[in-house]
């Protein structure tokens, strides 16, 4: 396999128990792979949690990490989700400087990106926006010139894309 270094999105279904996230994260840390983004929450079955994580790694060592993850007793299943075969979403919450003269421009951006205003101060706005990671990147970079006070992204979550009509729904 030719080494390709790019973002990989892994979806790991785990038992919803203490210490499981540390076990998963430990396998990445041991090899020096950084976890770029991470989202964890229980699924519709409260005994299980779904971890969505993005990592920068070459494909061949990543295959090993996936195999090692699968050996963890608390890991129920693991799947790599290529961007083309999945729908990804991320939420951004940001407080941005918004003096009277720029507030209108910021409001326009929020409207264009289907964001929401969460909180209003005399010279600042707190807004939220969700979308695919690229769209969230765009929104963030357009806000940056106004002066970002504080910013938090949730890390992306992803589900497999549904098949076209007549096809089967992707299993997971």
């Amino acid at each position: 396999m030719a080494p390709t270094k790019r973002h990989h999105t892994l979806v790991v279904l785990v038992e919803n128990k203490a210490g499981v996230l540390a076990r998963v994260a430990g396998l990445f840390a041991r090899r020096g792979f950084n976890i770029e983004s991470l989202a964890v929450a229980p699924t519709d079955d409260p005994r299980l949690s779904r971890i969505t994580l993005a990592t920068d790694a070459e494909s061949a060592p990543l295959e090993q990490v996936i195999n090692q993850l699968d050996k963890l007793i608390n890991v129920v299943s693991i799947r790599e989700l290529p961007p083309a075969e999945s729908v990804e979403r991320e939420l951004l919450v940001v407080t941005v400087n918004a003096a009277a003269e720029t507030r209108g421009q910021i409001m326009d951006l929020v409207r264009i990106f289907d964001g929401r205003v969460l909180n209003v101060g005399p010279d600042k706005l707190m807004v939220s926006m969700s979308g695919g990671p690229n769209r969230v990147d765009d929104f963030e970079s357009l806000l940056r010139p106004y002066g970002i006070v504080e910013l938090q992204r949730t890390g992306k979550v992803a589900l497999p894309r549904l098949a076209k009509a007549g096809g089967e729904v992707g299993e997971f």
């Binding site: 785990v14 210490g19 041991r30 195999n67 963890l72 007793i73 608390n74």
Partner: protein, 579 residues
């Protein structure tokens, strides 16, 4: 029935058929030691917790049953990390029980507190922190299941003191006997895929220069007989890795012996020249492959392993079979038989002739000592081998003595060779031998040890003599950390840095006698056999023989670290083979 956690722990262990626990009590595990008095389980009181772990490993490797150790929190737990890691590397089934500070004190830097599950996370197959007394029977049931199924390995169960302390209301539980496991992420696969087996049988039938590369998975899956039948059916030579010595008889005409860094020329070179490696329960360890890019360049790979993560890890497999080795090899034999069996195999007469020629030209050799010179370790091992029953269990530490023992012994029975392969833990031999003898009291057990290794765990001979588990120890005493010395001589321009130990400080004979052993010091060839014969007649005490061996003797052949197996260095007396 109302029990407390300590009672439930003992009852759970008894239910798993545990007959012996190796351990050492302390504050946090103290309440669990009280119901031990009323239990059918035998406890062996060690002198250091590392000894408990290695004894449990030796027991497991000799018997095939899981080894059990029990120690206290903090330093008790950290002292057993090395055995856990050793067992993890060599896939030895262990259940290790550690005490923990009471639940309410966890995270407060309490006396003898450490984050045991955090520390051992990466050196166990799984670990548990027991949250409530009511969980104990289920956790112990799960721990033994995980340790012994799939690819075996160590499982640690960390038990807060409050759960086993009868004075604490948290220790009360209603006893139950769990009969199932709720482990949705744990489904070890044992049955091979039929299509993969068929593809492997096709490759085998057509191969002209095949080698069976057999590893520790053979012994773990009790597949030695299945391997023998398979090898005889297809008439393909077998190499036995350090972890599978005894898994195929050394005296069998198809046996090539040990491959790897200190393997014999024929085993190493047959793999290098092979057109097919039938890999059974082995993992392409760097000590076997040498430089991976130059390893067996013409070989197609069949890789059978119970652990899917081993497939394609080091070398991509052409045919991968995820299966228990015994089940998988039996399926492979059936598939070969269905394709015409022995008659349908390719003509391999030339391959067998080539191998026989290598064996004849490049056997294991050493220069016999002249009278008056220091003992040769190989000579000592040959004498020991010839003077002991063929089913003797041999345990080794790590270093030159380990390699010589693996090279010069004739292993003809499974479960007769116990050593630390993956982790390379010095000091393994003495406690592992005690564990092996505890599990197989009917067998003679010899620890072949180095002087460096012996000094790391010798105190467990006190355990052996107190508990009446008599073992025999042959120290190959060259007054050096011999393997490091060998590397410094060969690769560091004879600059000897911090490897000299002294032949008589400690006084090994006096030390062994102080620990209750019969002890001898042997310096001359003619004394060797009588000393071994005397040791073999003693079965009420442990025996230690301090063999003063040639300091400069090196282990050959040798593939230098990182070099290709083609660059194998033979004994200086042997002509280098044509390239």
């Amino acid at each position: 029935m109302k029990l407390n956690g300590g009672q439930a722990l003992m009852r759970s262990l008894e239910r798993q058929g545990v007959e012996i626990v190796f351990g050492l009590p302390g504050g946090a595990i103290l309440p669990a030691y009280d119901p031990l008095i009323d239990s059918t389980i035998r406890h062996v009181l060690v002198r250091h917790e590392q000894g408990a772990g290695h004894m449990a490993q030796g027991y497991a490797q000799a018997t095939g049953r899981p080894g059990v150790a029990m120690v206290t929190s903090g330093p008790g737990a950290t002292n057993i990390v090395t055995p856990l890691c050793d067992a993890y590397m060599d896939s030895v089934p262990l259940v290790v029980i550690t005490g923990q500070v009471p639940y309410a004190a966890i995270g407060t830097d309490a006396f003898q507190e450490c984050d045991t599950t955090g520390i051992t996370m990466s050196v166990t197959k799984h670990n548990f922190l027991v949250a409530a007394a009511q969980d104990l029977p289920q956790v112990i049931h799960d721990a033994f299941h995980i340790a012994t199924t799939g690819r075996p390995g160590p499982v640690l169960v960390d038990i807060p003191k409050c759960i086993v302390d009868p004075r604490n209301p948290r220790s009360a539980l209603e006893w139950y006997e769990p009969d199932s496991h709720d482990l949705p992420g744990y489904r070890p696969r044992t049955e091979p895929d039929a299509a993969a087996v068929a593809a492997a049988a096709e490759l085998i039938g057509a191969a002209r220069r095949p080698v069976i590369y057999s590893g520790g998975g053979i012994l773990k899956s009790r597949a030695a007989e299945a391997l023998l039948r398979f090898a005889e059916l297809v008439q393909i030579p077998v190499v036995t890795t350090l972890m599978n010595r005894g898994g195929f008889p050394d005296d069998h005409p198809l046996c090539l012996g040990m491959p790897g860094m200190h393997g014999n020329y024929t085993a190493v070179t047959a793999m290098q020249r092979a057109d097919l490696l039938i890999t059974l329960g082995a993992r392409f360890d760097d000590r076997v492959t040498g430089k991976v890019g130059a390893f067996a360049p013409d070989a197609k790979i069949i890789h059978m392993d119970i652990d899917p993560a081993e497939i394609h890890k080091v070398r991509r497999a052409d045919v991968a079979i995820v299966a228990d080795c015994r089940v998988g090899i039996e399926a492979l034999s059936a598939a070969v038989a269905a394709r015409g069996g022995a008659e349908a195999q390719a003509d391999r007469r030339q391959w067998h002739e080539t191998i026989a020629d290598w064996q004849q030209r490049y056997p294991l050799v050493y220069a016999a000592g002249e009278p008056g010179e220091a003992l040769k370790p190989q000579f000592v091992l040959e004498q020991l081998r010839d003077a002991t029953p063929s089913d003797t269990v041999v345990c080794a530490g790590v270093g030159q003595h380990q390699m010589w023992a693996s090279q010069y012994w004739r292993f003809n029975h499974p479960y007769t060779w116990i050593n630390s392969g993956g982790l390379g833990t010095m000091g393994y031999a003495v406690p592992a031998a005690i564990g092996a003898k505890a599990g197989r009291p009917d067998r003679m057990v010899w620890a072949v040890d180095g002087d460096g290794c012996f000094q790391m765990t010798a105190q467990e001979l006190v355990t052996a003599n107190t508990e009446r588990i008599p073992i025999k120890v042959a120290i190959l005493n060259n007054a050096y950390l011999g393997m490091v010395r060998q590397w410094q001589e060969m690769f560091y321009g004879e600059r000897y840095s911090e490897v000299y130990l002294s032949p008589d400080l400690p006084d090994y004979k006096g030390w062994a006698e102080a620990m209750g052993c019969v002890a001898m010091r042997i310096e001359h060839p003619e004394e060797v056999r009588p000393a071994i014969d005397k040791a073999n007649e003693i079965d009420d005490r442990s025996v230690v023989i301090d063999f003063r061996i040639d300091t400069t003797e090196k282990v050959f052949p040798m593939v230098p670290a990182g070099a290709s197996n083609d660059d194998i260095v033979l004994d200086p007396s042997q002509q280098p083979p044509p390239r």
